[in-house]
Symmetry: C2
Subunit: 458 residues, 2 copies
């Protein structure tokens, strides 16, 4: 067997760091969503780029599939080895290699998590802004083009990765980008790799852009009598050019789940959760402008979080939304949708989605990074009841179709993986075939994360 | 001849809009820099995407080279047809198709210039921020990943193109991106096309991101006793997080040329030219912070431009720097360098460059978008004196090598074209071969702008 031959050679390369233990295989079989388990044949724990390159050369020689693994927090099965082969877990490549405070950039290994990086940066006055909620690995975040609560101000991984070191499907190592802030030197290979879900190469190093910790930070929660008012307030805020650092929407159901999870007492109505970054005067000005806008839309019950610990509690509650929702419905699993639409269509998209869910037999709180036009429904279903899975899939399908009809995208930040191939085809048409041609050019044997993102190989 | 057969079929397709007149061929033979003339075999003026697609299919059938032409303002020979064939001039595809004021985006045809777009946007309260100086076409700006004076605040074309319609080398038409502000739906084909210099496809439509016109705008010029003070002030300003809209450096020689060109009386010392955008209070705060920083570095002679007409005069003087420099030395031509380095190395890079030029027999004023770490030397040479061309090429070579050694790029905004292939190889190493593989995958016949950007085909 080709995989068996590869594993034998990999064991020689990595020794104990090629694991075939049941517990390791089980740990790397699951994802955080409802996809079936996919046990790899082995898990590799390389320590440096040279080892990753040697590993890939061995797999290329034997036609053995390779799937990268960061923190295992992706939501579309990106890190699951559905074709078997070897999962490359980057947990031993988790260093912060070089902080350039003057240039506000940092070199890290792919297994470093965003929280670990920010802990290390604390004394420098700098921070890495992209925040998908989960404590994902930075390599994984690059590969899914992750974003999250702060993208409205600081951009997504597309905007915050300056360069990469990548091991290609034949084991060659390339460096993309530079430490300069811009370049017109040829095709944007950094941009091509970011969001490629491990199908074009394995990232072994990232150069990331950092930001200065703002002089002043203030956060707040406010309630609205209805969903329309909350979403209309977001649209006005964006159009007024208020440089919000975060602006998150949660619906009434989600507010109730937050209360249950954290012992709070938010009114069970739609809410916005916001954060302002800037100079003292700048934040005051933003708060005033925002206050006037939301008052026009009937906002009440402002709850300010000025102290760092209050802000931490606020955003932890938000970040735990997925788990709190699951905890609110024991025995259920979740299908998390992820559409993103032009801001002018946001109210319509959220309201039609809510109406769809209300008319269905399942429940699904809605929340999202609405400053980008991106929102999620956490659709709950009973995994032992096939009709409920069909129901949530049908709801998800309608959301994706609605997003595309509105000029939006089927995935704002979770990616394609195995879950959204039908939608990417609808979204990109012939462009999806172009993606397949690029994949074939860089990975002719289809060993890098096969079965994900691109069209199936004929 | 294959080109002859293609031209016959193209004449049938386009009628009078396929021109072989001497004046048309001459007009499309030159560039704004020192490269030799390259007369195409014909110039096509398509009117819509369907015509561009039909044109490309004909050229593909006959193996006829195709080179796109916007405003002809690129600086590395990107629009010159060195392999002959047909130049596709987009002047008849210059419409603003749809302004979405609520979503702050716009759809345009590639021949629309940035000034024409901003004129059309004037009543909307929005503007398109990317400003390379020249009144380039937006299609051309996308293809060279242009930037210019405002990139420090608003980003480059990479950051401001939301989506494209592209005719591929086989005539297929794809749409990349959506109108959503972010997406994780597969490979970033928009990003791959932006900066590809017409080697992967012809852009037939662009969706661009717009910005709100700032409530308050103030510009200023201030002088410094020496180059070091001016550059150090830029570094401090960037590191303090002042959200400058523009921050441009000119050296003493350039100040003298400005005086000669516009009848001004700037002291002939290094200067910074700056612009602040924001709310009234925000701009006041920026001005105060900036004022304190530059005072620390010995700045004197602040000249404020508060009125729109004064700002226009200021930036026109800056935008005409290239032409004013040529006018200052009748009979000379210019080689314009374009390196970009990490901001911490900027002072060193500028000073070493200046010392190099001072030690050479030629002259070359230095100016640049220093907020990005990007600067140019306009190296003047006598085209009839071969040794002067060799001298400026050697200076340019040393600048590129210095930029790479500092972790920067050989081109911040002008691109590769035919002028920088040696440097892109040094900058990207094996990555340049990857670019060649992508090109071969999407344009196997090598008919799209052959000879530019990627490695020569074996």
């Amino acid at each position: 067997m080709t995989i068996a031959a590869a594993l034998e050679a990999l064991a020689q390369l990595l020794g104990q760091r090629l694991s075939r233990s049941k517990s390791d295989l089980d740990l790397h079989a699951a994802s955080e969503t409802y996809y079936p388990l996919a046990r790899p044949d082995a898990v590799a724990y390389p320590r440096d780029t040279a080892e990753v390159s040697a590993l890939v050369r061995i797999c290329a020689e034997h036609g053995c599939p390779i799937t990268g693994w960061g923190a295992g927090t992706s939501l579309e099965g990106q890190a699951q080895a559905f074709s078997g082969g070897v999962v490359v877990d980057f947990r031993e490549m988790d260093k912060v290699l070089e902080i350039n405070a003057e240039d506000m950039d940092v070199r890290v290994q792919p297994g470093c998590t965003r929280e670990a990086l920010n802990t290390e940066l604390r004394a420098t006055g700098l921070f890495f802004p992209v925040d998908p909620g989960a404590n994902a690995s930075l390599g994984g975040m690059a590969m899914t083009r992750a974003s999250g609560t702060t993208a409205v101000r600081y951009g997504t991984m597309r905007d915050n990765v300056l360069g990469l070191e990548v091991v290609l499907a034949d084991g060659r190592v390339i460096r993309t980008g530079t430490r300069a802030r811009k370049s017109s030197a040829g095709y944007d290979l950094t941009g091509l790799m970011v969001g490629s879900e491990g199908t074009l190469g394995l990232v072994t190093e990232l150069t990331l852009r950092l930001r200065g910790q703002p002089e002043a930070v203030t956060a707040a929660v406010c309630g609205f009598p209805d969903m329309h008012g909350a979403v209309a307030a977001v649209i006005d805020t964006i159009q007024m050019g208020v440089p919000m650092a975060r602006i998150e929407f949660v619906d009434a159901a989600m507010a109730g789940i937050f209360n249950a999870a954290s012992g709070g007492s938010m009114p069970e109505t739609p809410h916005l959760m916001v954060e302002f970054h800037g100079s003292e005067a700048g934040v005051r000005e933003q708060v005033e402008t925002f206050g006037a806008i939301v008052a026009d839309h009937g906002a009440t019950g402002f709850d300010w979080a000025e102290r760092p610990e209050d802000r931490t509690r606020l955003w932890e509650m938000r970040h735990r939304a997925h788990w709190s929702t699951l905890a609110s419905a024991p025995g259920k699993r979740a299908l998390v949708t992820d559409i993103c639409v032009p801001i002018s269509r946001l109210a319509e998209a959220v309201e039609e989605t809510a109406a769809d869910i209300a008319a269905s037999p399942v429940t699904g709180p809605i929340l999202g990074h609405v400053g980008d036009g991106n929102f999620h429904a956490i659709l709950l279903f009973d995994p032992d009841d096939g009709t409920e899975l069909d129901t949530v899939k049908a709801l998800s399908h309608r959301m994706a179709e609605r997003a595309l009809a509105m000029g939006g995208t089927c995935t704002g930040e979770h990616g394609i993986g195995i879950g959204k191939q039908a939608y990417i085809k609808a979204e990109h048409g012939e462009g999806w075939q172009v993606m397949g041609a690029l994949k074939a050019a860089l990975d002719p044997q289809n060993i890098l994360n096969p079965g994900k993102l691109v069209p199936p190989r004929n």
